[in-house]
């Protein structure tokens, strides 16, 4: 892919992010931070490439350490998000009361 194609994806993704994030309810802003944390660890892809390649031992070790760090974040981030989201409950009352917005 050439640079302009990549840049186009990036710019479009910024706009998508802008609109998607504004639609997140403020009550879920902490889970939002936790899950963005987890997904930004997709950087593990880079670490995997470095660790998989036998070309340079130094790069391989940096990659392996990177995998450890990113894995902490991926597992920890998704797990803690799941734990938080499981706590958000609706009112138990069966009769739904009209709650003027």
């Amino acid at each position: 892919m050439d640079f302009v194609a990549i840049l186009s994806i990036f710019v479009m993704a910024c706009f998508v992010g802008y609109y998607v994030v504004w639609s997140v309810t403020p009550a879920l802003h902490t889970p939002l931070m936790a899950v963005t944390n987890a997904i930004s660890s997709v950087i593990i892809v880079g670490a995997l490439i470095a660790a998989a390649n036998a070309g340079s031992p130094a790069a391989k070790w940096l990659g392996l350490i990177g995998i450890v760090l990113a894995s902490v974040n991926i597992f920890g981030g998704f797990a803690v998000t799941e734990r938080m989201l499981a706590m958000y409950k609706k009112k138990e009352r069966p009769a739904p009361k009209a709650e003027g917005k």
Binding site: M1, I9, F10, A13, V16, G17, Y18, V20, V21, S23, T25, P26, A27, L28, T30, P31, L32, M33, A34, T36, N37, I39, S40, S41, V42, I43, I44, G46, A47, I49, A50, A51, A52, N53, A54, G55, S56, K60, L62, L64, I65, V68, L69, A70, S71, V72, N73, I74, F75, G76, G77, T81, E82, M84, L85, A86, K89, K90, K91, K101
Partner: protein, 494 residues
Amino acid sequence: MLSSVLAVAADTAHAVNPWVAFAYLVAGVCFILALRGLSHPTTSRQGNRYGMVGMLIAVVTTLVTHDIASLPEILIAIAIGGAIGFVTARKIAMTDMPQLVAAFHSLVGMAAVLVGWAAYLNPGAFGILVPGTLDMGGGLGVGEQMVISPVSRVEMGLGIAIGAITFSGSVIAFLKLAGKMSGAPIMLPGRHVINLGTLAAILLLTAYFTQDQSLWIIAAVTVLAFIIGFLLIIPIGGADMPVVVSMLNSYSGWAAAAMGFTLHNTAMIITGALVGASGAILSYIMCKAMNRGFLSVIAGGFGGDSGGGGAGAAKTDRPWKRGSAEDAAFMMSQAEQVIIIPGYGMAVAQAQHVLREMTDLLKEKGVTVKFAIHPVAGRMPGHMNVLLAEASVPYDDVFELEDINGEFAQTDVAFIIGANDVVNPAAKTDKSSPIYGMPVFDVDKAKQVFFIKRSMGGVGYAGVDNDVFYMDQTMMLLSDAKKMVEEINKALAD
């Protein structure tokens, strides 16, 4: 079908394989859906699953499309990191979420630095070599050789720099949030000059890196970026941490995006942009909720933990009324509607569970109880909501500032627990006040106000006196928040 696709993908690892690009795109879309799910609590867990699926697709795609010389090591690395992350996520107390998020940010930052360095040391693996000329040094002259493409060098330099800033900044934010370092701003003389100079040096070195791919340049960029991340966060006070945490969230995204450019990886670019936008929007919301410019927050120096040296002269000389738990229990049980305004103090006292018991007791008596959350309550965006959710307060009892502020005039009791500046009317009236213009709850319109506070001496983080203390309808409940609510519960149960 899938295996044939993967076989094709593996054959042509370094050529642009449309299936590989497609898989990363699917991963990116999954991440978009993960955030989209958070628009409502009912869809949020579904969203989180999309995030996990996206991550799995990205990792598996990478593993099957590269010749892997060290699969056991990689799996061990994933297992070690995964176990640490999983156990931490299970054990962490909800009140400690802000520092956990800060710690996680630092890991993303460090991972970005490591990936950047790995790409520098082994550019062939990342497919970023182009034919070029290289100064061989040692009098060998200039030779034709494969070099790292100049565009990739800029991306690499920026990725490493942003990652390093994210790392050291997040470490400081973590230490401040965890109370392992004073939350008070640390002001160095001439820090603005130092900071701007360091930033300029990083940019100039990155630009020069396109001409010369020597190791010392990328090393200097890394070191300077670590230093600037540190310098940027130490002058920022504990109370501005919601903005800092959001900002570092944003940086971790941009770091991932920069690496995505280097690797030509769609999943990383989409994710980086999403996370970058997310953090930026949260920072904006926080700044707006404090009526402060982003630059003024970043410039630092505002608000330590104890908030000394405020404008409030003679603050304890004015008359105020002290109430008791019985007063509060009686007034609230007689009320039609009670609005509870929690703040950071509730988190510190771990009072969310007893507070929920209080609302249950009141509801049994037919009182309508609502929670009012200010955007900057707590130490990170949405901090109060998570704590209330943890205490099983239903989310439809919890309201945002603009949705509930009109209701105080029809409210019998406003119950303030561990909040202060977010109810200070000076923000509406006193132009000289440091918090002037910040949107606040109109608690002065409620018929009765109960204000839980440890003592009359301390003031909010902004160091401003609060007129609500001295209003006729206010009763101060001077005690630890949790103890006071427990006493109220006892009185309510009688």
